[in-house]
Symmetry: C2
Subunit: 149 residues, 2 copies
DNA sequence: ATTTTTATTTAGAATTATTCCAAATATTGA
DNA sequence: TCAATATTTGGAATAATTCTAAATAAAAAT
């Protein structure tokens, strides 16, 4: 469980939290690991359920708190798709999200912006902090020939 | 109020609604006009308040219904920014939304995608129905030299 | 090592946004 | 005009998130 690699990751998490003025806690460590273990895009509810497996006493409020802290220190992004609950994503590489209308699946899509500011022409004076690109459509297995007719 | 131009617009709205299987109702007409009158990005609550000025008996549930219908027949988009309430936008030209962290303002930003699929490289098989690009940052008046220090 | 300070966790209540419901009403088509 | 069907309405129900205050834990100071 607590290999050398894990220790390094904890130290790195600790540093990240500290630079944003947060403390290192077992709950934050655990919630972060839960996100890393299964690279999908869970809601808070789902993170809560997964977190309880190894840490049965963790509370919903704490999961909210931990996720907020992780977002604020730049280790996690939130993903807002349609009207549903916010989802969380520990992939901080520049990428965007594809949402399949048919199966509800969410996919990370690599994003290689062409030109300055991802090809956007922003008027003078706008300072960009973050892009958020999401795409709605049909994923390969729902659109493909084997999909339902 | 009901000029020739308005009649044309109503006929066009009627057609749009009809092609998606919706009926033309005074409420839908009114909610759509409310959106067109002030080109910002109101929440349902705000649309409700504005709608009641001229149509005091309209209900919240109806405003939700009307907005849904307008979205489904392609006259209105919804704008999901951060965790707050969904906002609505009657600008159907290809554009994206800039959200100012400081003042909370929302700006339409023209979007001229360079290359196929807006510069994105989607893997085989993904069929895109809609892009949604939002940008977080600071707007000119909050970032500018006259902004608070 | 102990104390102090401050942040975090916790459970549950409160709030907010949205959806659902069933009866009354309005619209469309025959 | 009548029948069939969709829409509107107000309120209740649900879902997601935030707030609250007491207990606990972490970091800093002694």
């Amino acid at each position: 469980m607590s290999s050398k690699k894990q220790d390094e990751m904890d130290a790195s998490l600790n540093k990240r939290l500290a630079t944003s003025g947060f403390r290192f806690t077992p709950q934050r460590q655990h919630v972060y690991n839960v996100l890393l273990q299964k690279r999908d895009h869970p809601t808070v509810e789902e993170v809560f359920i997964r977190s309880k497996e190894q840490m049965p006493d963790i509370s919903m409020a704490t999961v909210y708190n931990c996720l907020d802290a992780l977002v604020k220190c730049g280790l996690v992004r939130h993903v807002n798709l349609e009207r549903s609950a916010t989802r969380y994503c520990p992939n901080m590489k520049e990428h965007c999200h594809f949402y399949c209308d048919d199966c509800g699946g969410i996919f990370d899509v690599d994003f290689s912006p062409s030109g300055e500011q991802g090809g956007l022409q922003l008027p003078e004076g706008f300072k960009v902090k973050q892009f958020d690109i999401s795409i709605r459509g049909t994923c390969p297995s729902c659109a493909g020939p084997k999909a339902k007719p």
